[in-house]
């Protein structure tokens, strides 16, 4: 337990000191501020534009940052042999994987909250008051990031950072289009249907974490659904982290 915390703390510290991350984050914050301008030229639809583009931007930048930080999390440690220093100490591979996961997840949650603070400020400035419903979308985004960190971490224990990033983007894309995909293949060949079905069961259904549209259009937020999505992320991430641990334990360093 103690070791998980020590490794998490160290991973968190190394992650938030990344210069490239600082660059992306500044860009993301400027983008969110920029929605004020987009709102002002939108003929009375200010808040709709600010909220939809703001939430989407926050999501997009959150995932870019996640891919960027997670894709090299394990492979770089193997390549640079920093793992030698850790795994020759009384640290199990499970502790290592969990420590790295929680450290990076904490960093990404913090970054998401930074963006959210600016977003809430922008909405208030544009006359929208405190945008409480958007908190639901932000919480879901953090859940999704947790699942996604675990996924990219697993890729990162298998492949180079570049390949891990590409796989991550693919999962993100497919994971958000599963229901569309199923509909699309309904009247197609059996083989295509089988592939779609397989994807549907293997790739996480990331649309469970997307209520951005509903929120912008003032539909009610279902708290139970948010909690259920959190549970889904938790279970999914647990399986992915277990696989990452198994892979790492088998590896000759």
């Amino acid at each position: 337990m103690k070791n998980i915390f020590v490794i998490a703390k160290n991973t968190f510290r190394a992650a938030i000191r990344d210069r490239i991350l600082h660059g992306i984050l500044v860009f993301a914050l400027l983008f969110i501020l920029f929605t004020v301008f987009l709102g002002s030229i939108s003929l009375g639809e200010d808040l709709v534009v600010i909220r939809s583009i703001g939430l989407a931007g926050m999501y997009l930048f959150g995932m870019i940052i996640t891919i960027f930080l997670a894709s090299s999390l394990i492979s770089l440690e193997i390549e640079r042999r920093t793992l030698y220093l850790i795994l020759s100490k009384p640290v199990s591979t499970l502790e290592l994987v969990l420590g790295k996961f929680f450290g990076l997840f904490a960093a990404i949650a913090l970054i998401t909250l930074c963006m959210a603070a600016v977003y809430l400020g922008v909405v208030a400035y544009a006359g929208g008051g405190f945008d409480a419903p958007s908190l639901g979308a932000i919480v879901l985004q953090i859940f999704e990031a947790g699942l996604f960190v675990a996924m990219v971490m697993l890729f990162s224990s298998l492949a180079t950072p570049f390949a891990a990033a590409i796989y991550g983007i693919l999962v993100l894309y497919i994971g958000h289009s599963l229901s569309v995909l199923l509909q699309y293949v309904q009247h197609r060949s059996i083989a295509l249907k089988a592939v779609a079905k397989a994807l549907y069961y293997i790739v996480p259904n990331l649309e469970k974490f997307n209520i951005r549209n509903a929120i912008v259009h003032h539909m009610p937020v279902d708290v139970g659904m948010i909690l259920l999505a959190g549970l889904y992320a938790l279970l999914y991430a647990a399986v992915l982290l277990y696989l990452a641990k198994q892979l790492l334990a088998k590896k000759d360093l």
Binding site: R13, R17, Y84, L85, S88, P90
Partner: protein
């Protein structure tokens, strides 16, 4: 005591360590020598549990290296160590120390003492990215002794150090020996090996060629001369059998 019995390891079908048996007594300074690619690093990685042997057994004070809790008593400095560039030397050493139950509660002062011992205290709060090769080597040494281990494994600890650094590290190794620690180290700097080791093992193409007393091996010549002769003999005899 370190006991290696009939240990084998191959990579992609090529034997890298071949039926190695070796005993290192508690409290001795043991030098593990051999030409490049002989299997020294692979052996040390098996000793600290980073690589699994294909066969044979390794026991360190009766524990297998893969037994995680028993690593409380082990220190390891890898060859050409690499660190997290964005951390400072002090942060990194504290991180390492906190991974041991033994040293979890060490204070910043105590970590500072270790950095002083290895001579990088002045750079304690600088990012590791700014360290020179020799400074990284010293930090690598510091993290290997952060938990005050009974067994210290060092993979070429003197590599990349200036003469003063070499003398300092040798001094620390002698002091560790005085404290009753067992030290197992790989090195190519045979003059230093002769100076600080009591016993040596020589490995060539994964096979043990010699294990025993240094003085006996030298037989009046320098360790380097004898080493070169021994390796050349091995090469010639393996040519004959081909």
């Amino acid at each position: 005591m370190i006991e290696i019995r009939n240990v084998r390891k191959s990579y992609e079908g090529n034997p890298v360590v071949d039926d190695l048996s070796l005993t290192v007594k508690t409290g001795s300074v043991f030098g593990f020598l051999g030409p490049n690619g002989a299997g020294k690093t692979t052996t040390i990685k098996m000793l600290v549990g980073l690589v699994r042997a294909d066969g044979g057994t390794i026991k360190i004070d009766g524990h297998e290296p893969h037994d995680t809790p028993s690593r409380e008593q082990i220190g390891f400095m890898p060859e050409d160590p690499y660190f997290y560039d964005r951390l400072t030397g002090m942060e990194f050493l504290m991180f390492c120390g906190q991974l041991f139950k033994k040293s979890y509660r060490k204070t910043e002062n105590e970590y500072g003492e270790i950095l002083k011992l290895v001579g990088i205290y002045d750079a304690a709060n600088h990012a590791i990215a700014t360290y020179s090769k020799g400074m990284k080597q010293r930090l690598g040494f510091a993290q290997a002794i952060v938990n005050d281990p009974a067994h210290v494994f060092l993979d070429e600890p003197l590599d990349g150090l200036d003469p003063i650094g070499r003398r300092e590290i040798k001094g620390i190794i002698k002091k560790l020996h005085g404290d009753g620690k067992t030290i197992f180290f790989n090195s190519h700097v045979l003059g230093d090996v002769e100076e600080i080791c009591h016993e040596i093992g020589i490995i060539h193409r994964g096979k043990l060629v010699y294990a025993g007393d240094v003085k006996q091996f030298c037989n009046g010549r320098t360790l380097e001369e004898q080493f070169v002769t021994a390796i050349e003999q091995e090469r010639n005899s393996s040519m004959l059998t081909l």
